[in-house]
């Protein structure tokens, strides 16, 4: 009932209401300590990624064979790797790669997934059936195997790894989108809009998407962490990025040859990955709590 009123009243009132909703969510998000910690961690990462050029004391690909495998010291805070490169600088530059992988892979899968989910949910019928069976197919294949097959087919490299990770997480978004569409499309405000002559695309983008955003955002935030981990796994199998790109997963998997004698080669990239994934998970959980109206109090 409330929502119908929104629509029938002036659009201005609607936007005020929306703004206050965002405010309310933000307020609740801020109250959640974990979420704030997560956000600070994320901001730190973004900061590192943007200013890597300035902060990094060394060139991340500059080799120095004489000083290879050196433990952390004042000259090299995180020590040097198997080719004498400064691990601290590589980690800083690596944050760019990891954030890119996370964002692009998730962006790709959420856009494709949402589009498919919207089509399936809105039109229903045969189309719905076909799309949902396709997601069933993708869900039924373990994602790591799907990733490996896709990268094997396309060749190694950052771009193909992102595509692979993106494809394997399409079904999740598709399902979320479809589910919320199904529950929304029968509601009165959608009917009202349709009666007013709005096109299908308009209805989906202006009325349904905003209302199903909450679970999508939560899913996307959590999936960024997952994408970073998947990328690391691909490096382990030897299907990751092309060297000398300072990708954390690749650093970690190269470092395992030196696991015992130079543990800093694995410790720092490993912790960097943990840090990033942890930050995204904290954020995701915080957002979920903040966006869930049932948990208002």
């Amino acid at each position: 009932m409330e929502k119908t009123k929104d629509l029938t009243s002036s659009s201005e009132a609607g936007s005020i209401k929306k703004r206050s909703q965002v405010k309310e969510v933000w307020r609740r998000f801020c109250r959640n300590k974990q979420a704030m910690v997560g956000m600070c961690m994320l901001l730190l990462l973004i900061f590192a990624a943007i200013f890597a050029d300035i902060i990094a004391p060394y060139d991340p690909v500059e080799q120095d064979i004489i000083n290879r495998l050196k433990p952390p010291s004042s000259a090299h805070w995180f020590g040097t790797d198997e080719l004498g490169r400064d691990i601290f600088s590589r980690i800083l530059y690596g944050s760019r790669i990891s954030l890119t992988v996370g964002l692009i892979a998730v962006g790709l899968s959420s856009i494709v997934g949402c589009a498919l989910g919207a089509i399936a949910g809105y039109y229903g019928g045969v189309l719905d059936n076909i799309i949902m069976r396709c997601t069933d197919v993708l869900m039924a294949i373990p994602s790591i195997l799907l990733n490996i097959s896709i990268v094997a087919a396309l060749g190694t490299g950052l771009q193909n790894v992102m595509i692979a990770i993106g494809i394997s997480s399409v079904p999740a978004y598709c399902r979320i989108m479809r589910a919320s569409l199904l529950s929304l499309k029968e509601q009165e405000f959608v009917d009202a809009s349709r009666a007013a002559g709005a096109s299908d695309v308009h209805i989906i983008i202006h009325h349904i998407l905003p209302n199903s955003l909450a679970p999508l955002i939560v899913q996307a935030t959590l999936k960024i962490g997952g994408a970073i981990l998947s990328c690391a796994s691909m490096s382990f199998i030897g299907l990751g990025i092309v060297p000398p790109t300072p990708e954390w997963g690749a650093m970690l998997s190269t470092g395992r040859d030196f696991l015992r004698d130079a543990p800093h080669l694995t410790a720092f990239p490993g912790m960097a990955i943990m840090f990033a994934v942890f930050a995204m998970n904290l954020m995701g959980d915080g957002l979920r709590d903040a966006l869930d109206p049932k948990l208002k109090n």
């Binding site: 069976r133 396709c134 069933d136 039924a140 087919a153 962490g225 690391a232 998997s253 948990l295």
Partner: protein, 308 residues
């Protein structure tokens, strides 16, 4: 109910066909010739051509796919290129190992996840909630292979209380199960917590509280039962994915599982094994999901009424 199950089983057929189509196509477009890997370095071009003919690799895409599907309809998954055993035999050798491992890891993650989830829901925002969820999330955030190696160093080398690698009894299962279990425990914990939080706020819980039942009783008999549904889904999905997806853990701990077999097969372009393996894993995954849905019906009478 039976009708519902029947319909679901029927629906699996197109899904399985889709799985085959995707895997077959991916393998087809992947560069690389199985013959090169099979023959090694000393082979002559004639040997290669002959073997290619033997393996039926000279046909077109449609011919090969058609042949595979016809064989499949007869229950024949083909012959492994490298060992020359029927693919079914290879799956039978590895599948139980993965099943055991997945079972153990799921048990572990449920034990950890449910406990953490329940306690932190009941004591939301308490110190325990914060610590428990943080720990669960750290387990989830650690790259699996790194965690596995560190566990191995600690338990097998440093304390010498568990075997490092292999699959020769239940003690060998502990480390890999912890490696996988901790990462999925977080998912279970998170799911339990949020669905518990939802349930706790509902009227019947308040009623029960008003009736003066103890907190523990309420949690177990009222809240947990109703919060279980989404948790079961999570567990189902985890289990399904662990079957073929524990590739890195299987490799680190030298567990002869189906995931490792398939990755080796992808690398060697051993098409029948890849196709057969993925098909079996996908089938199991779908069956587990069906089982989960049926389980819902037992947990929740309202859902049961929908399965007509």
């Amino acid at each position: 109910m039976l009708k519902y199950i029947g319909r679901r089983l029927l629906m699996m057929i197109p899904v399985m066909l889709g799985v085959i189509l995707i895997v077959f196509t991916l393998m087809y477009i992947t560069p690389g010739d199985p013959v090169d890997t099979l023959l090694g370095d000393d082979a002559t071009p004639e040997m290669a051509e002959q073997l290619r003919e033997e393996l039926g690799l000279n046909g077109t895409y449609i011919e090969r796919l058609g042949k595979y599907l016809v064989n499949l309809a007869h229950g024949d998954l083909g012959i492994c290129y490298s060992t020359k055993q029927p693919v079914m035999d290879r799956i039978i050798q590895t599948f139980p190992n993965s099943l055991k491992l997945a079972g153990c890891s799921v048990l572990l993650s449920v034990a950890i996840g449910l406990t953490l989830g329940i306690v932190s829901a009941v004591k939301q925002y308490s110190l325990f909630d914060n610590i428990a969820m943080t720990l669960a999330m750290i387990g989830n955030a650690m790259p699996n292979f790194w965690q596995g190696l560190l566990l191995m160093l600690l338990f097998a080398l440093h304390w010498k209380i568990l075997p490092a690698s292999g699959f020769d009894g239940w003690t060998y299962m502990i480390l890999p199960a912890i490696t996988i279990g901790t990462s999925s425990a977080a998912a279970v914990a998170r799911m339990t917590r949020s669905s518990m939080l939802e349930v706790i706020r509902q009227d019947y819980i308040t009623t029960a509280e008003a009736k003066g039942q103890t907190e523990l009783k309420i949690i177990i008999f009222h809240a947990l039962k109703n919060a279980l549904i989404p948790v079961i889904t999570t567990i189902g999905i985890q289990f399904g994915h662990l079957l073929g997806g524990a590739v890195l853990t299987e490799s680190i701990f030298a567990v002869p599982g189906v995931g490792k077999m398939m990755v080796d097969a992808i690398k060697a372009r051993n098409y029948p094994v890849v196709q057969g393996g993925v098909l079996m894993v996908a089938l199991t995954f779908s069956l587990v999901n069906l089982a989960v849905d049926i389980l819902y019906a037992f947990v929740d009478p309202r859902i049961r009424s929908q399965y007509k």
